[in-house]
Symmetry: C2
Subunit: 449 residues, 2 copies
């Protein structure tokens, strides 16, 4: 039994939904279908979710959504026409949408969540109607009725542990179940949305809840690439990826999944298969607990810009019990989170995302470290990039660092910082931003060419 999730671009038009239909019915194991709201049909198009946010904003300010109401409804009307659906479904969506937009505005956050959620909810109803019109037994399933109970945190709801037991009973329902992604219900019946990539979260929770054998996640790319295609031409596709590898890659610029989305599937040990709605026969990329295929130590290379390093040195720092903790405490008090803390004997560098600091805060950081820790030197170096090579195959693979650092040296790139902990699933190199692309290319040539 599989859970299958489709992203917004896979559901943006009638033509796309026909592809989805063929994908679902081609495999009787595809039982639970999670749908997003209609996405962009072309790069200049608007997503229904963004239109709904505008609707909610306007309604909160002016009392009604005005023309925006029809901008949303028209998307559904067009899809219904393309799919040759009877009128009934559109009047149902019209009434639902009107109802939501005219709903209780006493808590703007809750109101916004309810309006946003309608994008997925109405498309799920439409798709269920389309499946039925094709003579396939399919049912729209309301998340609340299915037991998708969440915390009362608008825009950032979290699933409650007891929800999984409720969801398990979906297994015994007949037909294909069409579930809107992105939202759940509080115990007293309010609609609350998950965070970013909310439909991925719904799919992941459902996969866990029904103990699926596989969570298929259909999007618009054939596979996850081993490196950013904007940096390296025609890069290799990744066939299999472990959860840890995916997480390490997504840290530094890979945006396959919002990290938290996969936790429920990950915890239940359910593999996630990333596939292309527009090319369903492509093998795709499978994310799993362990992978068999070992094609060299490195599976992917990721990189991200916008880091800076706070360098602190003090003679005999190493002897001062509590130095590091006090230093981190200063950062916490200044509201900063940090990424890594490579250290020498009498120096430590704290790598932070520089979007967090402006010039004033930079001076505060420097002043406090001098004052409270009596440092000999404090300096901030901006515009660093972190380049990571990732792969379970690096565990106990003697020589990966030698290959990586030799490749960087050959390209004339100075390594500002190295961080290799005992996980051995990744190695991280700090380089100047200006050298980021060349560093990634050099590492790609070494491990993939």
């Amino acid at each position: 039994m599989k859970v299958v999730k489709f992203g917004g671009s896979s559901l943006a038009s009638g033509e796309q939904i026909e592809k989805v239909f063929r994908i679902i019915v081609s495999d009787p194991e595809r039982k639970v279908v999670v749908v997003s709201a209609p996405g962009k049909r072309n790069p200049d198009d608007l997503k229904v979710t963004d239109l709904l946010i505008d609707c909610a904003d306007r309604a909160l300010r002016l009392g009604d959504a005005g023309d925006l109401f029809h901008s949303v409804l028209d998307r559904y009307i067009l899809i219904a026409k393309q799919l040759k659906l009877p009128e009934g479904i559109i009047s149902r969506i019209h009434d639902d949408l009107l109802n939501v937009i005219n709903g209780d505005k006493s808590s703007p956050d809750h109101y916004l969540d309810a309006v946003k959620a309608s994008g997925e909810d109405n498309l799920a109803k439409l798709i269920a109607a389309y499946f039925q019109a094709q003579g396939v037994e399919a049912h729209y399933v309301n998340p609340g009725e299915a037991g998708m109970i969440v915390t009362d945190e608008p825009g950032n709801a979290r699933i409650l542990p007891e929800a999984y037991d409720h969801l398990f009973s979906l297994r015994s329902r007949s037909g294909i179940l069409i579930v809107p992604g992105f939202f759940g219900y509080t115990e007293n019946g309010k609609v609350l949305t998950f965070s970013r990539s909310g439909s991925d979260i719904t799919g992941s929770i459902l996969a866990n809840g029904i103990k699926a054998s596989l969570y298929e996640n259909f999007t618009d790319v054939d596979a996850v690439y081993s490196v950013n295609p904007n940096v390296v031409d025609d890069p290799k596709e990744i066939k299999e990826l472990t959860y840890r590898e995916m997480r390490e890659l997504s840290y530094a610029g890979f945006s396959v999944f919002h990290d938290e989305a996969l936790i429920p599937a990950f915890k239940a040990g359910i593999p996630v298969h990333i596939k292309n709605t527009n090319n369903p026969n492509a093998p795709g990329t499978k994310v799993m607990n362990e992978r068999k295929a070992v094609n060299g130590p490195v599976i992917g290379i990721a990189s991200d810009q916008g880091f800076c390093s706070v360098y602190v040195s003090k003679y005999l720092m190493n002897r001062e019990v509590g130095f590091g903790r006090t230093l981190l405490q200063i950062l916490v008090e200044l509201g900063l989170s940090y990424e890594h803390t490579p250290s020498g004997i009498d120096d430590i560098s704290i790598i932070i995302r520089q979007s967090q600091i402006n010039e004033e805060l930079e001076q505060q950081i420097i002043d406090r470290i001098y004052e409270e820790l009596h440092a000999d030197e404090v300096k901030i170096e901006r515009n660093l990039a972190l380049v990571m090579i990732v792969g379970e195959g690096m565990r106990h693979n003697v020589g990966t660092m030698a290959r990586a650092s030799t490749a960087l040296a050959r390209a004339g790139i100075n390594i500002e910082m190295i961080n290799q902990g005992s996980s051995e699933v990744s190695m991280m190199f700090g380089v100047k931003e200006a050298e980021e692309a060349r560093a990634v290319q050099a590492l790609y040539r070494e491990f993939f060419d």
Copy 2:
């Protein structure tokens, strides 16, 4: 004007003191001579300081030092005979020693300090007498009278800032000044000793106080070696070393100096010249703020055993503000100091000296991290060695990491951890203890052969 310090083995016998005399008079700039207590004459010999500690212990327990008194005095009598000194100096030392041993025992710690300090004090008197007997103007200088004022911390006294001004006036005294190392006086006249390597500290303070042009430190080796001679045969000598390099090397097994000893000289920018009393024409090793001679990126290789790694992983750790700080707080509360914290995205390893933890504490660490941080995995790996390559020449030297890691890979050594901060004066590799010697040898071959 130079400060010259001699270690215990350079002063263990009359013959050695004759060498010292010739060294001092060969350079009129050698103005202030700091002496240790008589050291070992052969590997099975006893140091006078250790004999004095036994004396103090016995006197505290039984009221007098018994035969131990004569064991100490005999060392001075023998040296005086070897140097053909008149009887007067021995009766002076006899009386001083008796006086100290019969001194106030109401504070055992202070009593112990006074007895220990007499080892240096009496040898300084003897050496001043010997210089005078050779017709050279030389004076014993009592540290209290010279203004060496210290804090009242037995066994760990610290110089008070105002002492430096007093000491500056030593410049205008006539003749060679023989100053006992290892101790100073509190403001109300109590004798207090410095910590370990106390004579090095005295020399360093005096160098700062008189604004010496050089602090010469005579010991029993020709120079500092680039690597432990027990691991690599006939290693290269280091001609020049910066303070930072020395500090990094001394962290991991190099025992040239007790780190803190050099701070006063270091702060005044005074170079330290390490030389051999038994071979004073050897060039020795100079420790200074900056060095000119650049013979490749690496100046030395050091290593030390007895580390362990506390590995903590938690999915999405990276998102948890304060995770690292809380982790370090747990260690501080358990009384542990840590060395380094290399980290991945969702894992962090804390490198600590394993002498700090027994099995019970190990379990406590693991339990608390699981409980308080809800970690997914916590494990402790013992028996790690840290191997460091050190050199100012590594700054902005592209390819040093490539050479080092390739050398280790060629020797089949797995790198458990790498830590390279932005100081770029050192790179640190964590390896299994069993591979430590082979790792050091491989790195030596790469950078020195």
